[in-house]
C-alpha cells in the first residue's frame, strides 16, 4: 500500500514542478511523454517476473527440449492419439459454445424484456451461478449425472429409458458441465447489448412493414450481433483452455488439450511435448482474443479529460 501511494505521489507531483527555474523557455522534457507511466512499474515488474518470463520460458522448452528443433510439434501432429486430443478439444469447445448460445440467448432476452424486478432476479441467478465455486458446481454435476444419480433415476422412473445413461466420465458429461458453466459468459455481454437497443428502432421496423419474424431476423438479431459474437468467442476461447471440468467429468480416453498438457508434465515429465501443446493453445487463444478485441467498440482505458 505504501509503495503504491509513493508511486502515485512521485509521478503526479512531478508534472507541475518540472522545468528550469527562472527560464522563460521550457522545452517539455522527454519524460513528459511518458508522464504517469512510472506507476505501472510495480505491476509490470511483478507480471514480467512471474508471468511473462515463465510463460516465455515454457514456450521455449517446446523447441529446446529434449533436443533443439521442431520435433515436438511434428510429434504432436503426426501421432494419431495426439491428433485426437486436438480434435476433442475443438469439437467440445464448439459444441459448448453452440449450446450455451442457444440457452443464453433466450435468457438474456427475457432479462431485458421482463419487468425490472424480475430481470434483477434472473440476473442475480446468473451472477450467483457464475461466482459459485467451480469445484462445487462440477461436483454437483458429477453426483447428478452418475449412473445412480437423480437424473438417470428420474428418466427411468418416467420410462424414457430402461438402463441408466452414461453421462459422466465421457465427453457427454464434459459438454453438459461446461455448457452450464459458460452460460453466464454469454448472458452478461448479450444482455448488455440488448439493454442498449432502443425499443423505438424495433417499433420503427414494424411501422416500416416488417412482420415480427422479419423484424427479429433483420433488425433485432443484427443489433445483438456484437454482444453475441464477443460472448461466443469468449466462451470458445475459455472452453479450449478449461481444465477442471473436463478432468472431473471427462474420461481417461477422451482427453482435451489442457489435461494432456498437465498429464505430460506431471505423469511423464515430458516438458518438451507439453510446451509444444501449450504453445499451440496459447497461439490459438491469442489469435481468437485479438478478434475479440476487434469486436469491442471502444478503448478500454478510455479518454478521461
Amino acid at each position: 500500500m505504501k509503495v503504491a501511494i509513493n508511486a502515485l505521489h512521485t509521478a503526479q507531483g512531478a508534472a507541475a514542478g518540472s522545468g528550469v527555474p527562472g527560464a522563460t523557455t521550457r522545452r517539455p522534457p522527454l519524460r513528459q511523454r511518458w508522464r504517469g507511466s512510472r506507476n505501472l512499474l510495480p505491476a509490470l515488474l511483478f507480471l514480467g517476473l512471474f508471468f511473462f518470463a515463465p510463460l516465455i520460458g515454457l514456450l521455449l522448452r517446446g523447441v529446446l527440449e529434449p533436443v533443439p528443433g521442431m520435433g515436438n510439434y511434428a510429434q504432436l501432429f503426426a501421432n494419431s492419439a495426439y491428433a485426437r486430443v486436438l480434435f476433442n478439444t475443438f469439437s467440445v469447445a464448439g459444441l459448448v459454445t453452440l449450446i450455451s448460445v442457444l440457452l443464453g440467448f433466450p435468457l438474456a432476452w427475457a432479462i431485458t424484456l421482463v419487468p425490472k424486478g424480475w430481470g434483477r432476479w434472473l440476473l442475480n441467478i446468473v451472477l450467483l451461478s457464475m461466482w459459485t465455486s467451480l469445484l462445487a458446481r462440477t461436483y454437483s454435476w458429477l453426483v447428478l449425472l452418475q449412473a445412480s444419480g437423480v437424473i438417470n433415476k428420474a428418466l427411468m422412473a418416467i420410462g424414457v429409458i430402461d438402463a441408466p445413461l452414461e453421462m459422466v466420465h465421457n465427453l457427454t458429461g464434459v459438454v453438459i458441465g461446461m455448457s452450464y458453466i459458460m452460460i453466464p459468459f454469454i448472458v452478461l455481454p448479450l444482455q448488455a447489448t440488448m439493454q442498449a437497443i432502443d425499443p423505438m428502432v424495433l417499433q420503427a421496423g414494424s411501422i416500416c412493414g416488417a412482420s415480427p419474424w422479419t423484424n427479429f431476423v433483420r433488425v433485432f438479431l443484427p443489433l445483438c450481433r456484437s454482444g453475441l459474437f464477443s460472448g461466443a468467442l469468449m466462451v470458445f476461447v475459455m472452453s479450449l483452455g478449461y481444465y477442471v471440468t473436463p478432468a472431473l467429468l471427462g474420461g481417461a480416453q477422451n482427453m482435451m488439450l489442457p489435461e494432456f498438457i498437465v498429464q505430460q508434465v506431471q505423469s511423464f515429465l515430458n516438458w518438451g511435448l507439453a510446451s509444444a501443446a501449450a504453445a499451440l493453445l496459447v497461439a490459438i487463444t491469442l489469435v481468437l482474443f485479438y478478434f475479440y478485441l476487434k469486436l469491442q467498440p471502444e478503448s478500454p482505458v478510455g479518454n478521461a479529460r
Binding site: 511518458w34 434472473l122 459459485t132 465455486s133 469445484l135 461436483y139
Partner: protein, 269 residues
C-alpha cells in the same frame, strides 16, 4: 415490439417465459442440489435423502485436514487480495491518467492472465517455482493467485476511476492540498467502491482457484479447493458437499456485500 412484452404475440411471450424459467432452473439446480445433499443422511448421496442430518458438517469441522485447508485458503485469499489491490491501484491510475503511448496495448498485457488458459499459467509458474525450490510454499500460492487476480482488480479500479471526474481532485489541489493529499483524501474515498469490488473479486478468484493451487500444493500446504480436488478423485463423500455449501455461502455473502456497496454508491453519487 420485440423488446416490449405486451406488444409480443402471446404464444411467443409464453414460450420465451417458459424457456427462461427452465434455463434459470437449470442454472440453480446444481447449486440447490448440493446444498440439500450436504444435509442428507445418505453416505451414497441418494436423492431425495432418506433423512436429514448435520453429521457431515460435524465431520468437516472436526477434521483437522479440512480445517487446515480452509485456514490456508483464507490466508492465501487475504494476502492475494491485498497484494492485487496494492499492485492494481497504481497501474489503474497510470492507465487512466497517463498520457503515454500504447496504453491500450499495456491494458491488454495486464489483462492477458485472464485470457491465457489457467493450465498454461499453472504449468509455467510451476516450472519456475520448481526451479527456485519454492513449490508448496505460501509465497508460491500467493504469487500465482495474484497473477490471475490482478486483471480483475485493475479492471474494477479502472472502471471507477474513469467515472471519477478528475476536476474534483484538481479542486482539492487548488484548495491547497498536495497531489498526494488530494488523491488520498478525495480520490480514494470516491473510488472506494471500485477498490473494494476489485478486492472482493481478487478474494473470490483466489478462494476458488483450483488449477494453480493443485500445481502449487504440497502435503504440508493445501487450500480448500485442493483438498476437495484430491478427495473428489477418491470418492464422492458428502463432506465435499459440506465444503461446497460453505463455498457457495461465501460467494453469496460476497455478492450481497458487492450489491450493497453498489446501492450505497448509487445513492451517494
Amino acid at each position: 415490439m420485440l423488446l416490449t412484452p405486451n406488444a409480443m404475440g402471446r404464444p411467443l411471450r409464453l414460450g420465451l417465459y417458459l424457456t427462461t424459467g427452465a434455463i434459470a432452473a437449470f442454472l440453480l439446480l446444481p447449486i440447490l442440489f448440493i446444498v440439500l445433499l450436504s444435509f442428507g443422511s445418505s453416505q451414497w448421496l441418494v436423492f431425495p435423502p432418506p433423512g436429514w442430518t448435520l453429521k457431515w458438517y460435524g465431520q468437516f469441522f472436526s477434521n483437522p485436514e479440512w480445517m487446515d485447508a480452509a485456514l490456508a485458503s483464507l490466508k492465501v485469499a487475504v494476502l492475494t487480495t491485498f497484494t492485487a489491490v496494492a499492485l492494481g491501484l497504481p497501474s489503474a491510475f497510470a492507465l487512466v491518467r497517463g498520457r503515454f503511448p500504447g496504453r491500450d496495448l499495456l491494458y491488454g498485457l495486464f489483462t492477458l492472465p485472464m485470457i491465457v488458459p489457467l493450465v498454461i499459467i499453472a504449468v509455467a509458474v510451476y516450472a519456475l517455482f520448481l526451479k527456485l525450490g519454492y513449490t508448496g510454499t505460501l509465497l508460491a500460492f500467493v504469487v500465482s493467485h495474484v497473477i490471475v487476480a490482478l486483471p480483475f482488480t485493475i479492471i474494477s479500479i479502472i472502471n471507477s476511476l474513469k467515472l471519477f471526474d478528475q476536476s474534483i481532485e484538481d479542486a482539492a489541489v487548488i484548495c491547497g492540498a498536495s497531489r498526494l493529499q488530494a488523491i488520498v483524501k478525495v480520490t480514494f474515498p470516491a473510488i472506494r467502491p471500485g477498490m473494494i469490488a476489485g478486492g472482493l473479486f481478487a478474494f473470490l478468484v483466489s478462494w476458488d482457484e483450483v488449477v494453480l493451487s493443485v500445481m502449487m500444493a504440497s502435503p504440508e500446504l493445501q487450500t480448500l479447493p485442493v483438498k476437495m480436488w484430491t478427495t473428489l478423485r477418491q470418492d464422492l463423500t458428502p463432506v465435499i458437499a459440506v465444503a461446497s455449501t460453505l463455498l457457495i455461502g461465501l460467494s453469496l455473502l460476497i455478492m450481497i456485500i458487492a450489491a450493497a456497496l453498489r446501492r450505497r454508491n448509487a445513492t451517494n453519487a
